[in-house]
């Protein structure tokens, strides 16, 4: 006997610890503290550049605490992880606490709401009718099937399918709408948890890396952090990279990379195609790895090829690729062209001198010397973006590209959690729609016969948007009174 009570006491004590944690997690106070802590620390995180240049961040800190105190304050913030705070253990901890808070709060309230949702509307008792906060009473002529039909049709017009119950000569109609809308809030809460799960899956089983790929080169790995390699499981080749500009401006219109996926050295067909053009907002996906166009750069070298399309006077076309210093011939002539100079972005200054204005291929130009039988005939700058400069006395020479000189900067991502996140987003949208734009509305109409006429009490309640709902009841009352006068 004694032992039994001991056990009971023991378990009740254990329960009380769990209980205490539970009620702590369920408290609104915790929710407010977590909201506030996430927000306030995030503000610091937006002021300091994350994983940024310490010098720059030091200047930011100095603006708040003064130059003399800045180094110490910065060292403190850095030590607390504020320079990479969204990955700091305490911030992740706050997010977990936020998730736990949502889960516990929802579970606390869900059983009651669930009961409400599972239970269809029932007739009101006499006491409840008297205490309903909003009611309208009207008198209607006649007290027969006709009146009953009128009430039912008026309710149907407002979108309610009524149930009728009769007892002691009193007829009661009751109807409801949007019973399940009470779950909208919990759907929204659930969606936040689903998005969290998706993010965790992504962090655990995915990676986020980058890869700079020179035109014509192939890589089997991507890089993250300070040069750490991640094997892709296949090879990726960059066939070409190009920037298009708006008309004659230097505003880029698109960055395009042509990519080929290789397995065992052989090109793989994706969607029936060997090479794929990607640009910003249009990535390439293969075996769960996605390649995003993110940057580009210029790195000319000895192997870079100048690509020309020559057209002779006879109209014959000929393409040619050559290295710096090599020569080509204009079709139908014996005129030889040799690349003597190159500029990635050529421009003319006020005194008509040429100069290079950018370190990327904004306006590439080649200087070609043309000679016939070893004797220099003429020389000319040929600009890729200016067709007028392609015209020569012996034909046209279009400068198409300097190939193998640009690299494409790719963001390489594998994220098996992204589908879960999208599903969470979809549920959130649905949950918010239900929570904000739908409501659980209940209407009761009590019909009592009085000397050949009927007294109607119209009452009801709505989970939200009380004013609109009361308007609805008003409309019902008016429709039924109008019936009476007609």
């Amino acid at each position: 006997m004694l032992k039994e009570t001991d056990v009971a006491e023991n378990s009740s004590q254990k329960l009380s610890i769990v209980d205490r944690i539970w009620s702590g997690l369920a408290s609104i106070k915790l929710a407010v503290i977590v909201f506030a802590l996430i927000s306030l620390t995030s503000i610091v995180g937006t002021l300091l550049e994350q994983k940024g240049d310490p010098e720059k961040n030091l200047k930011v800190v100095a603006k708040f605490v003064g130059t003399s105190a800045a180094p110490k304050a910065f060292a403190l913030l850095d030590g607390l992880g504020f320079t990479d705070m969204y990955h700091a253990w305490w911030f992740i901890g706050l997010l977990y606490l936020f998730a736990a808070n949502i889960i516990v709060c929802s579970l606390e309230r869900l059983p009651n709401v669930w009961k409400l949702v599972r239970q269809p509307i029932q007739a009101l008792s006499q006491d409840r009718i008297a205490t309903m906060p909003f009611r309208r009473e009207i008198m209607v002529k006649g007290n027969g099937d006709e009146t009953i039909a009128a009430v039912e049709s008026a309710l149907r017009k407002e979108g309610f399918r009524a149930v009728r119950a009769e007892s002691d000569g009193v007829v009661q109609f009751f109807a409801e709408q949007g019973r399940y809308s009470r779950l909208g809030v919990y759907m929204t809460h659930l969606s936040i948890i689903i998005i969290f799960v998706g993010a965790i899956v992504g962090m655990k089983y995915g990676f986020n890396a980058h890869l700079n790929l020179l035109e014509g080169t192939t890589s089997a790995v991507a890089y993250f952090g300070e040069g750490k390699e991640i094997p892709l499981g296949f090879e990726l080749r960059c066939d070409d990279f190009n920037v298009d500009f708006y008309n004659k401006s230097d505003t880029p219109k698109s960055f395009k990379s042509r990519l080929t996926v290789l397995e065992n050295g052989q090109p793989v067909l994706i969607n029936g195609k060997e090479t794929h053009e990607i640009e910003v907002n249009r990535p390439l996906r293969y075996k769960g790895v996605t390649f995003y166009q993110s940057s580009y750069g210029f790195a000319p070298n000895r192997d870079s090829l100048f690509k020309f399309l020559m057209t002779g006077k006879n109209g014959k076309n000929e393409a040619s690729s050559l290295k710096f210093g090599e020569s080509f011939t204009i079709p139908g002539t014996s005129v030889m062209g040799t690349v003597a100079d190159f500029s990635p972005a050529i421009a003319v200054d006020e005194s008509n001198r040429l100069f290079t204005y950018a370190e990327s291929m904004n306006n590439p130009a080649v200087f070609v010397e043309f000679s016939e039988q070893g004797k220099l005939k003429y020389r000319q700058w040929i600009l890729k973006r200016v067709p007028e400069t392609w015209v020569l006395p012996d034909g046209t020479v279009e400068f198409q590209d300097l190939w193998g000189a640009q690299y494409t900067g790719l963001q390489v991502r594998k994220d098996p959690g992204v589908g879960i996140v999208y599903a969470g987003c979809f549920i959130m949208a649905l949950g918010l729609y239900i929570a904000f734009f739908m409501s659980h509305a209940r209407i009761w109409i009590i019909l009592r016969g009085e000397r050949g006429n009927a007294r109607l009490i119209i009452t009801g309640s709505s989970s939200k948007n009380r004013i609109a709902f009361e308007g609805k009841i008003e409309r019902l009352a008016q429709a039924l009174s109008a019936k009476d006068s007609a």
Partner: protein, 363 residues
């Protein structure tokens, strides 16, 4: 037909409407009220036309397909659209609540922003879209964000009005009175400081592009001269003090709007109840999907994203406080005011003061 002509017409209309709405408050003549509404509607139609024309001009210049050419790619265009959303919201409220008094509050803001855009002259340049903005998500993400911002802006106005109406001016030390006078005082003072920036900028006549980024508060709080900085802060303190001391004047003006406190409370809630889901879907969810497609990260703690999340938290708190704790009146109005301060920072502060991926920063 030029979009700027219609933008000009709508600015004039909003300013005329403002005069009519104020006259309506003074004289209470139905005819004046009707004229005010007609002028506002005219301004709104002209505004809509201007927006569509600019859209078309943009599509023609960029050559990138109509649905992608929504002219919402820099701060000025976004301000124009913000005004459009506010006026739309106001017209809906006027129609639903059959109350014109609110117009005297909304049309001046609209007129001032439009005039500012027009005079600064930058809006006429159309910049073609950089590759990252060439997405079908631009339209949904940006328009919905601004509709939500406009909803929050109106909730801010109604919340301040609520506090001014309900707070007892005889108890100047009570928190609701302190809260509304200080926040309203600071808000107005910042607008005035920006007007000073604008005037001094006009006098110096520098390149228009550098205006917002480099000139903000240069004529006052960020001036090179320490004396002017000190004077500016002193003026700020004096201004806030004046609002605090003579808050009852504002209260009387608002009482003249014949809006009762309950309607204002209800309006504050309504605007947030519409703004919050629209903001969540358009701002956060669509933004995340777009970021996922453009950069391969649906969430990267970029300052704009982080501030959106903070704003979202504040309004989530507003909704929970109201529904779960039954907060009404002063407390809930204060939360709405804080929410809008956070919204303003998300919209403007992040671009002007912080750096990040969002393009409005690069004016």
């Amino acid at each position: 037909m030029d979009s700027s002509l219609f933008f000009g017409l709508s600015s004039i209309a909003y300013i005329l409407a403002m005069i009519c709405y104020i006259a309506y408050l003074v004289f209470r003549t139905q005819t004046i009220g009707l004229i005010a509404t007609i002028i506002t509607v005219f301004g709104f139609v002209s505004h809509t036309l201007a927006f569509s024309l600019r859209w078309k001009e943009f599509a023609d210049i960029g050559g990138m397909g109509f649905m992608r050419a929504v002219p919402l790619t820099n701060l000025y265009e976004s301000l124009i659209f913000f005004v459009w959303c506010i006026i739309l919201g106001y017209l809906i409220i006027e129609w639903k609540y059959k109350n014109r008094s609110f117009g005297a509050f909304i049309t001046p803001i609209a007129g001032m922003i439009m005039a500012f855009i027009d005079v600064s002259g930058i809006s006429k340049d159309i910049h073609p879209l950089i590759p990252a903005l060439q997405s079908n998500w631009l339209l949904a993400h940006v328009t919905m964000s601004f509709l939500a911002y406009a909803g929050f802006a109106i909730s801010f106005a109604t919340a301040i009005m609520y506090l001014a109406l309900s707070a007892d001016e005889k108890q100047r030390a009570s928190w609701p009175y302190l809260f509304w006078t200080i926040s309203f005082g600071l808000f107005s003072a910042i607008l005035i400081a920006m007007a000073f920036d604008f005037i001094s900028f006009k006098i110096i006549g520098r390149g228009a592009e550098s205006f917002i980024k480099n000139y903000l508060f240069k004529a006052s709080f960020r001036n090179a001269s320490g004396v002017i900085v000190a004077l500016s802060y002193a003026a700020l303190a004096a201004f806030v003090f004046l609002v605090w001391r003579f808050g009852y004047v504002v209260k009387r003006a608002i009482s003249a709007f014949s809006l009762d406190a309950d309607t204002l409370d209800e309006l504050t809630y309504k605007c947030i109840a519409i703004g919050f889901p629209v903001f969540t879907l358009g701002g956060l969810i669509f933004g995340a999907i777009w970021a996922d497609q453009a950069w391969g990260r649906y969430w990267s703690w970029d300052p704009k994203e982080t501030w959106s999340l903070i704003t979202w938290f504040v309004y989530a708190f507003f909704l929970h406080a109201r529904h779960m704790r039954g907060w009404r009146g002063d407390k809930i109005a204060a939360v709405a005011v804080i929410g809008f301060i956070s919204t303003i920072f998300t919209y403007l502060g992040v671009n002007l003061l912080l750096s990040g991926l969002h393009s409005y920063g690069g004016l």
